[in-house]
């Protein structure tokens, strides 16, 4: 049975793409079969895995807007068990492209995933920093939403807006949508603010907060510039080890389902 995890937070730059790439690759190291879907027109997840979205002939845009065969667009990556459904800038126009053709514009992703020929253990969906049609498609298709929360001051307000959007999707198109968990990212243990925010978030969300905390770690941006997940580029760095323990926590939940 495939578990679909959407990565969402309306706040920008909190580590959504970094989490999508490195959770996916850590799970692939544990021999889970993973499909990473890049639903952000900026295509950072596509680039972070070494692809140039402007050079690809097809992307998820063709699948969602024109019903192109999803299996022909999926790319294999440097990791054996990790496949990628790449993005493109064209995805930014999905809302207007779809306008009259479809009854519910927020269900096109969920419908297209029904055509997958290959069996995956997990599907991970990266999203842009907004709550528009792309995020709604991700939430309608997902079993659970993982919310990266940067250990910084502005973080909590955006979490509230993201939770409101999730509960709206639960009431409308996807009643079984749950919260996969809150992930603390870019944690800097040397600062008072980092510890303060972390305590606040753990007190607020309790056991819904992953035990794994992602430290601020230079290996992470360096790995992106090489087009590799940090779990492959520097497997024993603090950033990589944190994503391995996150993957273990996600897999442990499998038995509870």
């Amino acid at each position: 049975m495939t578990k679909i995890i959407g990565i969402a937070n309306q706040k920008g730059g909190v580590g959504k793409t970094t989490t999508a790439i490195n959770l996916s690759s850590a799970l692939a190291h544990f021999k889970r079969r993973i499909l990473l879907i890049d639903l952000d027109p900026q295509s950072d997840a596509t680039r972070g895995l070494g692809f140039d979205s402007t050079l690809l002939s097809r992307s998820i845009y063709d699948v969602l807007a024109n019903g192109y065969d999803i299996n022909k667009v999926i790319k294999r990556t440097a990791l054996k068990y990790l496949d990628l459904l790449p993005s493109s800038l064209k995805l930014a126009s999905l809302d207007s492209t779809l306008s009259d053709k479809v009854e519910d514009k927020t269900l096109v992703l969920r419908e297209s995933l029904k055509n997958l020929k290959k069996e995956y253990d997990y599907i991970v969906i990266d999203c842009p920093p907004s709550l528009g049609i792309l995020n709604l498609n991700s939430m309608a298709a997902s079993d659970g939403i993982l919310i990266p929360v940067q250990c910084e001051y502005f973080a909590l307000e955006a979490v509230a807006t993201t939770l409101a959007a999730i509960s709206k999707v639960q009431r409308t198109s996807n009643p079984k949508l749950g919260i996969e968990g809150f992930l603390l990212t870019m944690y800097d243990s040397r600062t008072r603010l980092g510890t303060e925010i972390t305590t606040q978030i753990r007190a607020l969300f309790k056991e819904n907060t992953f035990l794994a905390t992602i430290p601020r770690n230079i290996s992470i941006p360096e790995s992106s510039s090489k087009g590799l997940p940090v779990t492959l580029y520097r497997p024993s760095s603090a950033g990589s080890l944190a994503y391995f323990s996150l993957a273990r926590e996600v897999m442990d939940k499998e038995f509870i389902r």
Copy 2:
């Protein structure tokens, strides 16, 4: 004559709000009369100046959606020469609220600024990480766009999409729109990647890149959690000093105009 500067970059978390707040407050320290407009429904700039957007009776939403008097919504701040036009979550629905009433939805901000009674030297506009109707309103109203660029790997792609959006607005609603400059943010001189990206950006954009570089500095997020600009909270911190030199560069451009 008022100069209107929009802060834009489609990438999230690059320091747009931090730059909007601290450039405005640094200019106010030099006794320039400043209006900071928060055009992001997340209201981070409103919160970063100590206001709770859920407690305010009016916001920029009322001005743009219902033609409410802009002068009645403006708030004075902790700094004598700095006023704020606060945001609210309702702003996220502006696109659908305006739908049929207005001929061009991207001009409502420019029109409402014509009703300002008070004279400002600079108007600074903070925007969300997207290129939707709110960003288009900012670009249509601005004289120049300041683009914060984080010294990280994914930064350059989003700059390209932001520049494409600017040139589209130049061709349609605002032919006099220019580039105020590229500002390097969250620069960490200890890392190789930081220096690499900085050299790349300066080589690409040459004299359009501000000399001032904003270092990664813990006083910045700490000041936001106190609802104060860093120029007020820790005036001699590395973050604050960098925003003062940015303000001086922006003022020096006054003579070239």
